[in-house]
């Protein structure tokens, strides 16, 4: 194994830095922690395999993070053969048997990303270096997901992104070691566009408030493309800092801007705050250009709908998944999640659960934890039974392609969980785009050594 390791190091050595200027060839191998032990980063040696779940427990997306963590715990339970197995019996692959992964019991460690890239990378590093995590999952902010994905590529650890909706995650910042099951802003635009056209007509002026980071930027871009294709005009786009809390100073200018639709490219608590404050300013009861003023929240979850309460009624958005789906996999998942936690799972919980299962399944099918093999098992993998119908994990950009749901806030919820209604579905063919639509490069398969 030593030779193998040396080969890698030397290749990296030549690649990097002021090559050869002072390179003497006496690289400090002895300092490398695991130089003789293993062939790839954190290769499991005992009878357990450790996964790292890196979610926001504080910050603007903390609600989503808490729900992701619940789903991760449930997934680990099901992988270890405890509980009712959830989605596993309905999954199109039969590789998972409730016997852990490759016969090793699944253990996990968790970390708080604080919804900040810096803290997230710190916490991911800690899980990889200290706790020996073999796979990292989590996210809840595209900035975080992209930052952690980059780190995982450097470290040679697979990153199964959970909630991240920016086009960049599998677009310009795609990585060989990063995979995303969640849909993206471009697909939201394709799904939401026709619905907005039907409901609000083709002669509208839209005002965008946008979270100022990669997700907000790409969603704004995709929503402008989708609405302008309908014939709408874009009145103004304004960037707001993440976690702003009080959005009143951004909402006041909307009143006299001549716009008649407000598109809120906000998520989590930001989405809840900006939506409720927009409603407080009377935007929903307002007339502009002779039409009723409308608010659109392009990416919405039931957690946000619960937070926003009445303000959410009638507002359109898109979701990766909603618990009212009637396929067997979704029903099984909702049942086991509800029985354990007393609440239905959110889309964040769903994607986290599915990603964990998909990783475990890929390792089983590859017959090894060796990352390049696991990656190859995931690439261009076609599966079904995990809630969104037949799904493809495209190898060219590591993005999943599946149906996208357009949802609307319910006017008269029948109970405290019944908040959204799926009003239409954009089919997988519809939301599929060419792999080079966004330019990016996946990078090498070779495993780095942590």
């Amino acid at each position: 194994m030593t030779n193998f390791k040396k080969g890698i190091s030397r290749r990296r050595l030549i690649k990097t830095g002021l090559a050869g200027v002072l390179a003497t060839g006496v690289s400090p191998y002895i300092f490398s922690r695991s130089a003789f032990a293993q062939e790839f980063c954190n290769a499991p040696t005992g009878d357990t395999v450790t996964l790292g779940f890196n979610v926001p427990l504080t910050g603007a997306y903390a609600d989503e993070g808490a729900d992701e963590l619940r789903a991760f715990e449930l997934a680990v339970e099901h992988l270890n053969g405890e509980g009712d197995g959830g989605m596993i019996p309905h999954f199109s692959s039969d590789a998972l048997t409730g016997n852990g992964i490759l016969g090793k019991r699944v253990a996990y460690v968790t970390g708080d990303t604080q919804t900040q890239s810096d803290a997230a990378r710190d916490s991911a590093r800690r899980m990889i270096e200290r706790d020996g995590a073999l796979m990292i999952s989590g996210g809840s902010s595209s900035g975080v997901a992209i930052a952690v994905q980059g780190l995982c590529q450097e470290m040679g650890v697979i990153f199964m992104a959970a909630l991240t909706h920016s086009n960049d995650t599998t677009g310009k910042d795609r990585r060989r070691y990063g995979f995303r099951h969640f849909f993206n802003a471009y697909q939201s635009g394709i799904g939401l566009g026709p619905q907005l056209g039907d409901a609000y007509g083709t002669d509208r002026r839209a005002y965008h408030l946008t979270a100022d980071y990669t997700w907000g930027w790409t969603q704004e871009e995709s929503m402008i493309a989708a609405t302008e294709a309908l014939g709408w005009e874009t009145a103004e786009t304004v960037r707001t800092p993440v976690g702003a809390g009080d959005f009143s100073q951004y909402i006041t200018p909307v009143l006299n801007s001549g716009a008649d639709v407000l598109i809120l490219n906000h998520y989590g608590f930001d989405g809840v705050n900006s939506l409720t404050q927009a409603v407080q300013f009377g935007l929903k009861d307002r007339q502009a250009n002779g039409k009723n003023f409308q608010i659109v929240l392009p990416l919405v979850s039931d957690l946000m709908a619960a937070g926003a309460g009445n303000a959410m009624q009638g507002v359109f958005g898109t979701s990766n998944w909603y618990w009212s789906q009637q396929d067997e996999g979704s029903k099984a998942f909702t049942n086991s999640f509800g029985a354990k936690y007393g609440r239905p799972p959110s889309q964040a919980a769903h994607t986290s659960y599915v990603q964990t299962l998909l990783y475990a399944d890929a390792a089983e099918r590859a017959g090894t934890f060796y990352p390049p093999e696991v990656i190859r098992a995931l690439e261009d993998y076609e599966f079904d039974g995990l809630g969104n119908g037949p799904t493809l994990y495209r190898g060219a950009d590591h993005q999943c392609f599946k149906d996208v749901f357009v949802v609307q806030g319910k006017e008269n919820p029948s109970n405290e969980f019944d908040l959204l209604e799926v009003v239409s579905t954009a089919s997988r063919d519809n939301v599929t785009y060419a792999p080079d639509f966004f330019e990016g490069e996946l990078g090498p398969y070779d495993p780095a050594m942590c």
Partner: protein
Amino acid sequence: MNVLRLPRQDVILFAVFAIVVLTMPIWLTPFGAAYPGLMQKFAIFAIFAVGFNILFGLTGYLSFGHAAFLGVGSYTAVWSFKLFTMDAIPALIFAVLMSGVFALGIGFVSLRRSGIYFAILTLAFAQMSYNLAYSVLTPITNGETALQLTNNDPRVIDMMFMERTAGLPSPSIFGQPLGGIGGFYLCAVLLLVAFFIAQKVFASPFGMMLRAIKSNQTRMSYTGFNTRPYALTAFVISGMYAGLAGGLLAVTDPLAGAERMEWTASGEVVLMTILGGVGTLVGPVIGAWLIKYLENIFSAFNEGMLHATFSWLPDGVEDIVVAVTSKFVGEGWHLTLGLVFVLIVVFLPGGIMEGVRRIRSAVANRRDNRRTRFSTSAAE
């Protein structure tokens, strides 16, 4: 080599310090802290705190905006990676210089006032930097997304020597990769250099001058002395230390986020310095290590581990003890930090170093007493 000469006591201190720092991977193992990510942080934040102490400890000027320089250092280093080369040396040099320039500007303005007004001025500047980095400066800082390397970076110097390869490059020094433990040794060596320079400053006439500013600025100015250039020099030096720390953060992990500049991050270095012992050489280092260690290790404690720790107690008692202690570890470790900090400020304003001194003198007294008693009884 007069520049390198130190008083004998300082030489011993430096030697001991060097041994302690360089053997970290060994003696930290039993504490579960000997992994590269944490040890790098130990070294980096020690540099930050030592630098902060040169300003606060010597001159008494309390800056609540030092994290801004840390952030500037990080951004500069990442830009150096992106534009020129992945080598760490130019990145660190640029980081130190750039934060020095920032410190010169901010210090020049802020030092026109003292006391709380100085603190608020530095706070205002740091918050301005943070807010701008987060909003309109996005083209330079990449805002919330954080500044990161990409495949298409120019890296002009690197490109003269080699082909562009697939995948992101990582920082290196003279062609040696800096991942993991290698990165730690770079930080450790720089910490030793930084510590040595701080020792020189403390021992120099310039250091005396700074202490004089702290003890009585009015008297200093009555003697016809313009103290501001001295204070400004100290401010710039400590800004450059922060820049070095920020640059090292970027070297060990090539990413720079605006959160590093937030005023609570500035508060953290204040905590480190006070906790360890303000105005002493070793104190800030100890403070930095303690806080970073607790942050990483203490915060990982969960209820399961507590139950295991207290399992020897009777059942009911165990639950209560676990319920109470769990408020202070894990998620709640900041509470412990705050409490300890308040206690230190109230009872031990000199920090841990003063505690050590007091214990030592108490022991010495006792020994003296005993010796006196012994000698008197012998004399009888």
